[in-house]
């Protein structure tokens, strides 16, 4: 028996905005477990959209649908329509390798390759057949991630020698080196100290000019600081004893935090649970 969902409120993006990513009735299963149910979502170009919600509500799972990282989990199955630039990206006809060049990703824990800073940046470009000058690409990407001045004299040194915050910006530089249209960030600051967090947040504001950004965060202050729109996910217990996530409310960040339509949202953003 499908568990009925509590009421939800999803605001549509106004017509004047171009939609970069869109979800229609997306559900994700792990094996026979329904992990996230019936997500409808529209993400406009050049905006930052934050996913917030308690643990286990499926926000990371939904994020990974956009670059099909769920394909790497053998038991995962994604239902529904996911559109990127108006084209469907689910199904066999779309190559996930090609998709991931256009939809980059930054992970929770900084994970630079155990190679030089230079090679970290050029790897993605090399495998995707980059035709231009690699030295310029490295400088451009590192400048784009506000890291150039700190590392320009040690490009041949290991990326693992950098501090945590620098490593995360290296990962962002690595992601933008392959000129994606969207950058997905899965709790990018949760392993960083407050100063590094601020640097990454400032960087996100700059990146917004050129990229669409979707960020998962546990930190509600971060969501309110950086994002234009916020999606609040919640989890309900299922009959089988597991948890099932669903989208409660999606709106402009200001409305989510100061004028939420749903009671769950109000309780969560005011710190009453989660």
């Amino acid at each position: 028996m499908p568990t009925p969902l509590p009421s939800t409120s999803i605001s549509e993006v106004s017509d004047s905005k171009t939609i970069a990513l869109q979800m229609e009735k997306v559900s994700v299963y792990y094996g026979s477990n329904l992990a996230v149910k019936d997500v409808y979502l529209e993400i406009p170009e050049h905006e930052i959209v934050a996913f917030i919600g308690p643990s286990g509500c499926g926000k990371s799972t939904i994020l990974r649908c956009f670059n099909r990282m769920n394909d790497l989990i053998p038991s995962a199955r994604v239902d529904g329509r996911i559109l990127f630039d108006g084209e469907e990206i689910t199904g066999k006809r779309v190559d996930p390798v090609e998709l991931r060049r256009r939809v980059g990703m930054v992970f929770q824990k900084p994970n630079p390759f155990p190679k030089s800073i230079y090679d970290n940046i050029t790897f993605g470009a090399r495998i995707n057949g980059y035709q231009g000058n690699y030295d310029e690409l490295v400088e451009r990407s590192l400048r784009g991630a506000a890291l150039w001045d700190e590392v320009k004299d040690k490009l041949q040194e290991s990326g693992l020698g950098l501090s945590g915050g620098q490593q995360q910006r290296l990962c962002i530089a690595r992601a933008i080196a392959i000129e994606p249209e969207v950058i997905l960030m899965d709790e990018p600051c949760s392993a960083l100290d407050p100063i590094s967090t601020i640097k990454v947040e400032e960087l996100m504001h700059e990146l917004k000019e050129r990229y669409t950004i979707v960020i998962v965060t546990h930190n509600m202050q971060q969501a309110s600081r950086v994002s234009d729109r916020t999606a609040f996910f919640n989890a309900v217990a299922t009959d089988q004893g597991g948890k099932m996530g669903y989208l409660v409310e999606y709106n402009h960040t200001q409305d989510i935090f100061s004028n939420p339509k749903e009671e769950y949202t109000r309780d969560y953003v005011s710190g009453r649970f989660g």
Binding site: M69, L72, V97, R101, I127
Partner: protein, 305 residues
């Protein structure tokens, strides 16, 4: 309300008595374990030193350049180990040539490509079991398959037959250690590669394998160290004990150091026991060189991180 106060004081006293630090006896147990562990280490090192000292004392007198460069002889003072030494080098090179591509390849397949189904689980269980099969069984298999059935190819009781037999023996070890080395690579490294639009092979070749090389090398060298000392399977396959020529090709007859040593130890004359000890010194020196190379390679590859 005096009673209240006094009862509170009693309470306080009881609270303190909930814990008895007993530091003295806890530290005593600490010390006992320290000495026990120290003793265990000491005993094993002592046995090893004793073994080395007796071998060196027995063998150093007859260990000279003449011993290393001479062929076996019926007279102990003329006998040398060159045939066995070169035979062992031949066998080791061939075994490495067969097991590295096969074992590492199989390990990569099972760890990175194979889906988790009944077939791969069956393969896994069997590889685990094969690693524990006694070496003489491999010797008999080698005799039947490589020396007899495949005689037109291998030339019978040849270097090639012996090497193939030892390769079978250590393949499971190489496969298992390759898989363990790959499993130790954090998944975040793979995800980083995939997220940049890499295919599975690009992720494995560019990131997973380079990171796993030190672990894989260690496993391969340990497996080869096992192969170098194996005697039983080579005797079963039919390595000769008295050979006065060096192997000229894959189908050539051969002998190996453990067999030569075994043969000398079995002779009644005491002189042969001394040159057996000399042979053991040469074998251990070779083992030491192999392990040294392994440590060097491992450190070299780890520096590149």
């Amino acid at each position: 309300m005096k009673t209240d106060v006094s009862s509170r004081v009693v309470d306080k006293g009881q609270k303190q008595s909930h814990f008895t630090a007993n530091l003295g006896s806890r530290y005593t147990i600490d010390r006992i374990f320290k000495y026990a562990a120290w003793g265990a280490t000491g005993v094993s090192i002592l046995i090893l030193v004793w073994l080395l000292v007796t071998i060196v004392a027995d063998g150093i007198g007859t260990l000279n350049w003449n011993f290393i460069t001479s062929f076996p002889s019926r007279r102990a003072e003329n006998a040398g180990i060159i045939a066995a030494l070169v035979g062992t080098v031949w066998v080791m090179c061939l075994v490495a040539l067969f097991t590295v591509p096969l074992g590492v390849g199989a390990g990569i397949f099972l760890e990175e490509f194979a889906e988790d189904n009944w077939f791969t689980r069956l393969v896994e269980i069997n590889i685990g079991n094969l690693a524990g099969v006694p070496s003489i069984i491999y010797g008999l298999l080698g005799l039947a398959v490589f020396a007899r059935i495949m005689q037109p190819i291998t030339g019978g009781r040849s270097v090639l037959s012996g090497s193939l037999t030892l390769s079978l023996l250590i393949l499971p070890v190489v496969i298992v250690s390759t898989r363990e080395a790959l499993r130790a690579i954090p998944n975040s490294l793979r995800l980083a590669g995939y997220a940049l639009g890499a295919t599975r092979w690009q992720v494995i070749w560019s990131h997973v394998l380079p990171a796993a090389v030190p672990g894989i090398l260690t496993g391969v060298i340990l497996a080869l160290s096992r192969a170098i000392g194996e005697t039983a399977p080579l005797i079963a396959v039919g390595a000769a004990v008295f050979i006065s020529f060096l192997p000229e090709g894959l189908q050539s007859q051969f002998t190996a150091m453990p067999i030569q040593i075994y043969n000398w130890v079995g002779r009644p004359q005491e002189e042969f026991h001394y040159i057996a000890a000399s042979g053991i010194i040469v074998l251990m020196a070779m083992l030491l060189v192999m392990n040294g190379v392994a440590v060097y390679l491992r450190n070299h590859f780890q520096k590149d991180f």
